[in-house]
């Protein structure tokens, strides 16, 4: 059981708040769009991940439960 960051690429408009709030897992490409580390969100940053999800101006980010542990 774990949580993964799921992104709706069509909704995403490159605002970049997610990368500011979760630099451990999210960086921005040359055009300001998020590159997300695949795999489970480490428990140490889950709260930051929730804040990043909350901060997205277009609700493109989601924290989803996974059935099995994805490799990190």
């Amino acid at each position: 059981m774990g949580e993964v960051l799921d992104i709706d690429r069509i909704r995403c408009d490159g605002h970049g708040l997610c990368a500011e709030l979760l630099p451990e897992l999210i960086s921005l490409d040359d055009w300001g769009y998020p590159i997300i580390e695949p795999g489970n969100v480490p428990p140490s940053v889950v709260e930051h991940a929730r804040r990043a999800v909350d901060a997205c101006p277009v609700l493109a980010l989601r924290l989803a439960r996974t059935a099995a542990l994805a490799p990190r």
């Binding site: 909704r11 490159g14 605002h15 970049g16 708040l17 500011e20 709030l21 921005l28 040359d30 055009w31 300001g32 769009y33 901060a55 101006p57 277009v58 609700l59």
Partner: protein
């Protein structure tokens, strides 16, 4: 409690609310324009926008409660809850009640955005452009300090700031990433 203190509290909290609300509106525009610098990240704008809005609610609560319990104004709770039902300055006070309801709708949909969904949230949030002028007019109409220079200065400052911010939004271009990094995408076109 002395009548005078309640009266000052109402007016003071009202002015503070106006200034805070002006800050909230301007920060909302700054956020929509995606403005940022190396030392002022986006989340600072959005965080401040949210915190100032919640602070505004606190001062509005003081403003309303002190106004209602003040025996001098003879306002009952009904006047605060139902627009245009007071005998004292019916129109201007009523506008204040309207503004409160609009603000509450905006705040509630924002706090519960995942449940309301993005389009509903956006539609309600645009009501800010109605809510803020109504609040300002309420302040001017009900205020007893209109002839004091400092009050006029505050009102002018708030109105000027919002007008400037709206003008910026209406005419300026968003600071999207591809504008900041032109070398990366020389042929990029804005879409939609």
């Amino acid at each position: 409690m002395s009548d005078t203190i309640l009266w000052y509290a109402t007016r003071g909290a009202g002015v503070v609310s106006l200034v805070l609300l002006t800050g909230v509106v301007v920060l909302g525009i700054v956020s929509a324009m995606r403005w940022q610098t190396a030392s002022w990240p986006r989340f600072l704008t959005t965080g401040l926008h949210r915190n100032l809005a919640l602070a505004t609610l606190v001062f509005l609560a003081i403003h309303i409660v002190t106004a209602v319990v003040d025996p001098f104004t003879a306002l009952g709770w009904q006047a605060a809850a139902i627009p245009f039902s007071s005998s004292y300055r019916r129109l201007w006070l009523g506008l204040g009640v309207v503004a409160i309801y609009l603000l509450l709708a905006i705040v509630v949909t924002s706090l519960l955005r995942p449940y309301f969904g993005q389009s509903a949230w956006r539609a309600v949030h645009w009501l800010t452009y109605l809510m803020w002028p109504v609040a300002v007019i309420h302040g001017i109409g009900t205020g007893t300090d209109p002839r004091f220079a400092w009050m006029l200065a505050i009102e002018a400052g708030c109105i000027g700031t919002v007008v400037a911010a709206v003008a910026w939004r209406a005419t300026g271009a968003q600071q999207t990433a591809w504008r900041r990094l032109p070398a990366a995408a020389p042929q990029a076109q804005k879409w939609n």
